[in-house]
């Protein structure tokens, strides 16, 4: 403040104070909001990991085995365990919000929120079962 001239006793207070950079630590709801937002970083990381996996498989058996060894590196493994947490957190928060985002009317009546959540979770189960079958080889 040393460089500021024109400071008077009656200097008006600013209307809005700038919130702390750590405002999201103040309440649980804020923390869960920022956790959900940070899932974006881990989604981006996993897309890169998935593409590296695809590339390794396409480059032949030896390169695939190299990828498997790399994927067991402690840093990569810890990162992927954290990624699993964030990706599941994203999925659960996304499906729980779905009834608020999707307003479906059937014959003039709004479908209950529970039905929309349930159909989203149902789709999740189906997609998961299909991918398990596809990756593990039927």
């Amino acid at each position: 403040m040393s460089g500021r001239a024109a400071y008077t006793e009656y200097h008006p207070r600013w209307l809005r104070r700038r919130p702390s950079t750590y405002w999201w630590l103040e309440r649980r709801a804020y923390l869960s909001f920022i956790t959900r937002e940070l899932s974006s970083i881990f989604i981006a990381w996993f897309v890169v990991y998935l593409l590296l996996f695809v590339r390794a498989v396409s480059l032949g058996h030896a390169r695939y085995l190299e990828f498997v060894v790399w994927s067991r590196h402690p840093v990569v493994m810890v990162l992927n365990v954290v990624t699993l947490f964030f990706v599941v957190y994203h999925a659960v928060t996304w499906f729980n919000l779905a009834p608020k985002a999707m307003v479906v009317h059937v014959r003039g009546k709004r479908l209950p929120a529970s039905l929309i959540s349930a159909s989203n979770y149902g789709a999740w189960v189906v997609a998961t079962a299909f991918l398990l079958w596809l990756v593990l080889g039927g």
């Binding site: 897309v47 990706v87 990756v135």
Partner: protein, 117 residues
């Protein structure tokens, strides 16, 4: 600032990516990132993986999953920086970094999945 007319497209990609990544990523992370490396499950054999990945439908699906998930992540991360760190004055740079990253990685995904053999 991103042009106003682009915003609905970005929100659409965000939603599409949100749904797709919620449906398919948890099981893929569990298998490829955790269960196989930790030895909870034996990884599938190479011939099977190679056959599945070379199939045109798999490639197309993977391309779609990657692109929408990347734009979802870019959009969300843009607002994480915007709200979380309150660096609104860097809006243009943040948008360039986030969507630029998503575009570069999408191009890489496209190239990779097209050139599989």
């Amino acid at each position: 600032m991103v042009r106003r007319s682009l915003e609905p497209v970005l929100w659409l990609l965000f939603s599409a990516g949100g749904v797709v990544s919620a449906l398919v990523l948890p099981i893929l992370v569990l298998l490829l990132g955790v269960a196989f490396p930790l030895g909870w499950l034996d990884p599938p054999n190479y011939e099977h993986l190679s056959a599945v990945l070379l199939h045109p439908i798999t490639r197309l699906a993977l391309f779609g999953i990657c692109v929408v998930s990347l734009f979802h992540a870019a959009h969300r991360f843009r607002f994480t920086l915007y709200d979380g760190l309150q660096i609104k004055h860097l809006n243009e740079m943040i948008a360039l970094f986030c969507y630029g990253g998503a575009i570069v990685l999408s191009l890489w995904a496209g190239y990779l999945l097209l050139s599989l053999r």
